[in-house]
Assembly symmetry: C2
Homo-oligomer: 343 residues x 2
């Protein structure tokens, strides 16, 4: 048996400072790749696409074939959970997600156990990808964090979240109950993903912005803590990456309180904030501006250098501060990976 | 001659820790007041309303008659500047601002000197308000900060700013030139406001979110520094309040580098961030959630207490983290002022 080198991503998540950071990109799979756009035409429905392990595995692997990335992330969507809990979810072409009426908390609580089974296709995708992926490349599973998923469930669509943020004050008990259902279903979903082959688990809190410190504690920090505790209680030791996007200075509270191995930082995270999280004992990930990746040019090269110089003094994972934009030129992605890896 | 007590707002801005913080609210004038909605019907055009000193002074004074507030803020709009520089600006009912094509930088640079004259009505409004306002209540003038105004000028409307943020990377020289024009016209506009009666000047950087640290330095911090320098060079000593809304952890950079007397904090600013700005020698303002002000109830009272307890250990101005929402019940505003002032 040959000795397999530990994937760089797992080394960074274990707290190692590396010669060069591992690199992957949020939304590295998907619409920025022509081969994805071709593949996507084979299913009419985006949700059905995510639930088809053959197609979803192919979408996950496409960027791994094209680029020397250090990690794959399972192709799925954060709204598969509300769907599995009994809320209608569909995608309008060019307009993003639409959700039906919010089911009663009781009916969703009754669906929590069954919901994990309804998501088993995502486990199959992970198993297929892990079987094909080289051992030095890590595989990431993920879920939307409860508050972010709740914003869609409450508003019925992507939006400015003003209705969901009003809900915080107008229906605090109902929100707590909804978050509790989501904590339990999300924990089970992540446990299933880890057992199916995910070596790292990421929580996307994509809409952490605009919350006051006390609400952030209650609807972001506590649910993240609860999920990780629940996953650990099931014997899963996979490291977590937490991504409280838009949390601003509250990222420091998050890093201090949530037992993730790495905090993913968004575009506006200052160098000093990232360094202080590393000094506090966690890895960081991020935070290249996706608009700059799209724009390219010498400004892109300079920023990539500055991020590595500033953050590779501690455990660091190179990534964007948000997802790859669909119209990002592929040569900008290639060029950036080359500058990070030397490959 | 009787000795006039110095307005509380000016004392806080001079660095005093007070028995109770001065209080005012962003958007305290305007659509949340029935008397404003009545007044507004007398002009068909919102821009014309802002340029009518009689009506604008009345709108400025309406909340001062109704509530025991410590400061008035001139009723105006941040888009009066692009209009004065020759870009078309109009308001679609229920949809917000619309702007015509961005004029050439050269043509706008030629308009800078004339633009201040075109804004003289706002000076008249200030003079009228100052004459009517009790001396213990301060009068605030303001302008939109260059980057925020530029986002509207580039996009032609309120939006998610993705086009303006792309412009940063795609047209960096043009953006620099546009910001330079805005720095100069904004400085002149504020000098005029101070000479007409404004005792405090506020810069609204309403869209500071989503910028990387280096871009924030270039398009937020430097223009704010330049405006204040230009205003000081004209012999104006009025204190500045800077409001980098959505800047997250970058607020610390802002507070360290921009010579404002107070930093206005948005809803998500942690207690510790505000305290560190005070310890660094500046006053802070904010940061009650406007959604909580609208929702009311015991949660509102508790949050008001928590803010005062946390932040009135240093120079502090009580305010919201964003503007009063139009459908905010007036009794919630009254109740909050009573809890802050004891009146």
């Amino acid at each position: 048996m040959s000795i397999q080198p530990k994937p760089l991503l797992l080394r960074a998540l274990a707290g190692e400072t590396l010669d060069r950071p591992p690199v992957w990109f949020m939304r590295q799979a998907g619409r920025s790749l022509p081969e994805y756009r071709e593949l996507r035409t084979r299913a009419t429905d985006f949700i059905a696409f995510c639930h088809n392990p053959e197609m979803a595995a192919e979408a996950t692997l496409q960027p791994m074939r094209r680029f020397p990335l250090d990690a794959a992330i399972v192709f799925a969507d954060i709204l598969l959970i509300p769907k599995a809990l009994g809320q209608e979810v569909w995608f309008e072409a060019g307009e993003g997600p639409r959700l039906g009426e919010l089911p009663s908390i009781e009916s969703m609580a009754d669906q929590v156990e069954a919901s994990t089974g309804r998501l088993s296709a995502i486990g199959e995708t992970l198993t297929r990808v892990r079987a094909e992926l080289e051992p030095e490349r890590a595989l990431i599973g993920f879920a939307g964090a409860p508050w972010t998923v709740a914003t869609y469930m409450i508003e019925g669509r992507g939006s400015d979240r003003s209705e969901a943020r009003s809900f915080i004050y107008q229906n605090p008990e109902k929100l707590d109950a909804l978050l509790e259902v989501l904590v339990e279903s999300t924990a089970r979903y992540l446990i299933m993903q880890a057992r199916a082959g995910a070596q790292v688990l990421k929580l996307f809190e994509s809409w952490a912005e605009g919350l006051s410190e006390d609400r952030f504690e209650r609807i972001v920090i506590k649910p993240h803590q609860a999920i990780i505790e629940r996953v650990r209680a099931a014997g899963i030791e996979a490291p977590f990456i937490g991504f409280p996007r838009g949390a601003g200075a509250l990222v420091a509270n998050y890093a201090a309180k949530v037992p993730v191995s790495a905090v993913a930082l968004d575009t506006q995270a200052p160098m000093a904030l990232g360094r202080s999280i590393q000094t506090g004992g966690k890895a960081i990930q991020g935070a290249l501006d996706n608009l700059l990746l799209r724009a390219g040019g010498p400004a892109l090269d300079a920023r990539v250098e500055a991020l590595i110089e500033g953050w590779n003094q501690g455990p660091y994972i190179f990534n964007l501060g948000h997802g790859v934009l669909p119209d990002t030129p592929i040569e900008h992605i290639e060029r950036t990976i080359r500058r990070v890896t030397g490959r």
